[in-house]
């Protein structure tokens, strides 16, 4: 089983490497040069490592978000909107808390509020699916557009500081400590994300609800017959999924800019899909995969003089396609018995 998964991942990475090289050649650069520069600017400097870690945190969260939804058989393409909603609410909570609020309390309230906001945005498509059987793929995508429009409107009319596209600064006690990577914004929310990854894994494998949710993902009709509430599973998983994405506000708002700004965490929600797939929906895999994509994301910026930074987005799509194709191929090799 593990061998098959590793083979799938290996194949996907190889395909990405080849595709990336082709794209680099097309713009007239040398793949070797570009890849070297990418590695050096990420893992070769303290600042680089810090930035990679900074970008890993939200990717772990959105990767978990997508993976949790996959476990019940749902596709959460709305992690982007859930992240935006969560970050926005985290920033508002942080901005309007009384300045004397003790640090831990402030952080918990802000992140908690963000997770609730993300959870609500996630729960809506879950509810629509549970109640009406409506396609969660389209609904989550629609919500991405709707949430960013709503947040923009709320910002423009109420919450953005005049003439800017960002909110008031959050209170000092809610700021998260930086990890000390030479000016990088990597902060303690990284540990928070890792702890959440472990908790999610324990939840899915050791609790009754996790058992039921996975059953729904594997065999909805059998789960129904066994008395599992499908509605509860759909709504619950989507809410948790949204909450996980919404927790990313801790990284961007509390740990970096200290306010919410337009286009925050752009693309991270979609990258979470690639992270979850490459990580095979397993928390350990997700963390590793998040590190990889964070490396690509930061490295992509650093080589953007040589190669357009969209290379990263293209590579992430290629990885998804390769993983999807490879895992389908390996599934077919498994022979299933079951009928005499």
């Amino acid at each position: 089983m593990l061998r098959r998964e590793l083979a799938t991942i290996g194949l996907a990475l190889l395909t990405a490497l080849v595709a990336g090289s082709v794209l680099i050649l097309v713009v007239g650069e040398s793949p070797l040069v570009v890849y070297q520069l990418l590695l050096k600017s990420t893992w070769g400097t303290r600042y680089g490592i810090g930035q990679v870690l900074f970008k890993t945190t939200p990717l772990v969260l959105t990767g978990l978000s997508v993976a949790v939804a996959f476990k019940v058989g749902l596709f959460n393409i709305g992690a982007q909107g859930q992240l935006v909603a969560g970050s926005f609410v985290t920033a508002l909570a942080g901005a309007y808390l009384p300045p004397g609020t003790p640090g831990p309390v402030a952080v918990v309230l802000c992140v908690g509020a963000g997770m609730v906001a993300g959870g609500l945005v996630g729960a809506l498509p879950g509810l629509l699916k549970a109640r009406y059987g409506a396609h969660e793929v389209i609904n989550t995508i629609m919500l991405n557009f709707i949430v960013s429009a709503l947040v923009l409107w709320a910002g423009n009319s109420l919450f953005f500081v005049a003439y800017t596209t960002h909110t008031k600064t959050v209170i000092a006690s809610s700021h998260l400590h930086h990890l000390g990577f030479e000016g990088s914004a990597a902060n303690t929310s990284l540990f928070f994300a890792l702890v959440l990854a472990a908790l999610v894994h324990l939840f899915l494998t050791r609790t009754r609800h996790g058992f039921e949710w996975r059953a729904v993902g594997f065999g909805q009709r059998a789960a129904e017959n066994a008395g599992v509430s499908l509605k509860g599973a759909f709504i619950g998983a989507m809410a948790l999924s949204g909450a996980l994405a919404g927790a990313a506000g801790a990284n961007y708002v509390l740990g970096y800019k200290h306010y919410f700004e337009r286009d925050i965490g752009s693309g991270v929600g979609f990258m979470g899909i690639a992270v979850a797939l490459l990580g095979r929906n397993h928390p350990a895999g997700i963390v590793a995969s998040a590190l990889l994509f964070a490396t690509l994301a930061h490295g992509g910026l650093e080589v953007s003089e040589l190669v357009p930074k969209e290379l990263v987005e293209i590579l992430q799509a290629v990885i998804i396609l390769a993983v999807a194709a490879a895992s389908a191929y390996s599934m077919r090799r498994r022979v299933r018995a079951g009928v005499d």
Partner: protein
């Protein structure tokens, strides 16, 4: 307010509705063909985007020749659809995952190509496009003609019968010697051509390609397919509804009726969510949709 009503009841508004509906309708027709054969087509969005870019590039290269731009657009659509078909029909990967990936690919490649060719990060150079009165434009009527053509093909031709069979009971078709994967490939390529054409219309009816210009229309087209019970004619009717919604939203932005522009812009997306919730129970999907076919 009465100004608003007047402008809504005018011929120009009707023309605008039709012009705006056209990309939805083309994409929806393409979507219904591929979905009927059992292949979910989330990738419509990305195909449209590629078609839009290619058409703008074609217009620029050829100095405004519409036929060139349209064929570039269709070709780009077919090429993108071919990649999608390779991954989901030949390799039998999960169709939704692959569809989302194709969309991400399109969203990533188009700015990449923009930078490469036109040194811009968001716009292609301005092109002539489909200006003026669309009722006088033969391309419009050609596109309108496609609607009944697609319907006849699906309902009354040999190929259409095989598409319908393969989407509902692929094993039945297989036992009669019909190549399930072959028919699905053809259906997906067909949807690529139509959606690519829809994307081409987008950039041609504007003044060029803008990054991310499909803006969710591909997904809305898919919702229209579902609303239309996977029948090309009804899907087009559903598209009129969404085209109308988008036209209203554009018009309302120029009139001040007290609703902020940002909220008005959400109208097509909200409408999609509402209609999906209302319609999904009533429509009957092709039974084998979304599942790759594996012969023993």
């Amino acid at each position: 307010m009465s100004d608003l009503i007047d402008s809504l009841l005018s011929l120009t508004f009707l023309a605008q509705v039709l012009r705006i509906t056209m990309p939805y309708a083309l994409a929806a027709m393409g979507g219904s063909v591929s979905e009927r054969s059992g292949v979910t087509n989330i990738a419509l969005e990305g195909i449209m985007l590629m078609g839009a870019f290619a058409a703008a590039a074609g217009a620029y290269d050829s100095g405004g020749a519409i036929s060139v731009s349209l064929s570039y657009g269709m070709a780009a659509g077919i090429a993108t659809a071919a990649l999608y078909a390779l991954v989901v029909v030949t390799f039998k990967a999960d169709q939704i995952v692959a569809g989302v990936a194709i969309n991400m690919l399109a969203y990533g490649i188009t700015p990449y190509l923009l930078k490469m060719f036109y040194n811009s990060s968001s716009n292609s150079p301005v092109i002539e496009g489909l200006g003026g009165n669309i009722f006088a434009n033969p391309v419009f009527w050609l596109a309108v003609l496609l609607v009944p053509v697609v319907h006849v093909v699906i309902a009354y031709t040999r190929w259409g019968l095989r598409v319908r069979a393969v989407g509902d009971h692929p094993e039945a078709a297989d036992t009669l010697g019909v190549s399930v994967d072959g028919v699905r490939w053809q259906a997906v390529l067909c949807s690529g051509a139509l959606a690519g054409l829809g994307g081409a219309w987008l950039s041609l009816s504007g003044s060029g390609f803008v990054a991310g210009m499909s803006a969710g229309r591909g997904y809305i087209a898919l919702a229209a397919v579902i609303m239309g019970s996977w029948r090309p004619l009804w899907a087009c009717a559903a598209c009129l509804l969404f085209g109308f919604a988008e036209a209203i939203q554009v018009t309302l932005q120029t009139f001040d009726i007290g609703i902020p522009n940002e909220l008005v812009q959400t109208f097509p997306y909200v409408l999609t969510m509402i209609t999906l919730a209302g319609f999904i129970g009533r429509s009957r999907a092709p039974a084998a949709i979304g599942r790759p076919y594996e012969p023993d």
